[in-house]
């Protein structure tokens, strides 16, 4: 996806590809773009990142994989939970 100008309306998605996130299923998010509703596709900017260090901050139920939707951390992330967060942020 091409990098867009970050505006108030852009929703920035950062998918952590650190070890713990990868082991617990981060690769599923390579299909995230395919599940975006048409109305949000132009607003969502997806990035893959090196380890965000969230595994050191969170524990217990808040397991990897971690995805950040703007500044919000989605723990135990899945495509449905990330989409739900995107919709919330988009005010959908």
């Amino acid at each position: 996806m091409t990098r867009k100008e970050t505006t108030m309306e852009t929703i920035r998605i950062r998918i952590c590809l650190g070890t713990a996130c990868h082991v617990l299923g981060a690769s599923q998010f390579q299909h995230l773009a395919d599940h975006l509703p048409a109305s949000l596709r132009d607003r969502v900017q997806i990035e893959w990142t090196r380890c965000l260090g969230l595994c050191r901050e969170y524990s217990g139920q808040d397991q990897p994989p971690y995805v950040m939707v703007n500044d919000q951390v989605v723990t135990r992330a899945s495509i449905p939970s990330v989409l739900a967060c995107i919709r919330t942020q988009a005010g959908d």
């Binding site: 590809l17 650190g18 070890t19 713990a20 990868h22 082991v23 617990l24 690769s27 390579q30 893959w48 990142t49 090196r50 380890c51 595994c55 050191r56 524990s59 397991q63």
Partner: protein
């Protein structure tokens, strides 16, 4: 079976410091003789290369060992050695002084006779034509490894035989060159005060460099002020993506990648997909001296009981890799825990 027996005998005698000529005589006396063709089974070529560059060759009934020097095939003077009890069978003995850059190529006649009886090569490939093919290949790729050169020769011979081998084909290449060193750094130092020291060591290392681990690569990037970015070229669901850092040959993830490397080295089969693990195996196989610098700081994020047990047992995985490199792959290794 007889080829295996011959090779085993030769290896045992050589490792027991038996003189190469004496070893060859014992083998000649031991080998059975074909009643029809009146030659021994099996044929053999023995190369004994010493650290000072002295190379002794003993050959029996194989195509002559080929010496390629400065891009050209060089004739080796051979002395025939026969004994009355061998009934006309003759050994050939030679001694040369190898120079840096020399290559020795040993082949069985299945390779020089590849294509025998086919329309374009009725008499087979031929020794001289094979030699010309090799020198042309080395002209195009002067730094070709011994492994790649033997693979090239073998696959060319198989193709000439119509993609099926008419006779058994054996090829060995020896390349006299400087050892290739590789430094593999994985894990942050136990004491953060040593971060700079490790980074400087890596920077000054004269050879190829691999950094395995996100935290480790962050340390190097910070200390050496290098940019690091994720390589999204190939996405592999099993192995985390590699990163890119200038001056470092490979920046990979740590534990998962190294565990896969151990698995690949154990099986001996390298999968065809390109990921951090297969690329690291490639680097390792191309190197002769591999130095491991292993940080012993524990990653608290990997202590979560919900994660697989293999994560962060870095020491155990590395011990496995070291054992394999030394025993199976005959690499020189060195390890420092910091």
């Amino acid at each position: 079976m007889l080829a295996s027996l011959t090779a085993t005998m030769a290896l045992e005698y050589m490792s027991g410091d038996c003189m190469i000529a004496r070893a060859a005589e014992i083998i000649m006396d031991a080998l059975p003789i074909c009643r029809t063709r009146r030659i021994s089974y099996s044929t053999f070529s023995i190369v004994d290369a010493a650290a000072d560059g002295t190379v002794r060759l003993i050959e029996y009934a194989n195509p002559p060992v080929l010496l390629i020097r400065d891009g050209a095939a060089v004739e080796i003077g051979r002395i025939p050695v026969g004994k009355p009890r061998w009934g006309g069978r003759v050994l050939h003995y030679a001694e040369i002084k190898a120079r840096a850059g020399d290559r020795l190529v040993l082949v069985s006649d299945g390779i020089t006779q590849a294509g025998l009886g086919r329309a374009d090569t009725p008499l087979g490939w031929g020794y001289d034509q094979m030699a010309r093919t090799l020198t042309r290949q080395l002209e195009a790729a002067p730094d070709l490894s011994a492994r790649d050169l033997s693979q090239f020769l073998l696959s060319r011979a198989i193709r000439m035989d119509g993609d099926k081998t008419g006779d058994d084909m054996t090829c060995a290449c020896i390349y006299f060159r400087r050892p290739r060193p590789l430094l593999l750094l994985t894990g942050p130092p136990f004491y953060t005060e040593r971060d700079a020291e490790v980074a400087r060591y890596l920077e000054r290392f004269d050879g190829r460099k691999a950094v395995c681990g996100g935290t480790t690569s962050d340390i190097i990037a910070r200390e050496l002020k290098l940019p690091v970015s994720m390589d999204m070229g190939n996405f592999d669901p099993e192995i985390p993506n590699t990163s890119i850092m200038p001056g470092i040959d490979l920046v990979s993830e740590g534990c998962v990648t190294l565990a896969k490397v151990a698995e690949i080295l154990e099986s001996g089969v390298v999968p065809s997909n390109r990921n951090g693990a297969t690329r690291l195996v490639d680097l390792i196989q191309q190197s002769d001296q591999i130095e491991f610098v292993v940080g012993t700081a524990v990653n608290p994020a990997h202590q979560d009981p919900c994660l697989p047990m293999e994560l962060d047992i870095r020491r155990n995985v590395l011990k496995r890799i070291l054992r394999l490199l030394e025993t199976k792959y005959l690499k020189e290794t060195k390890v420092t825990f910091i």
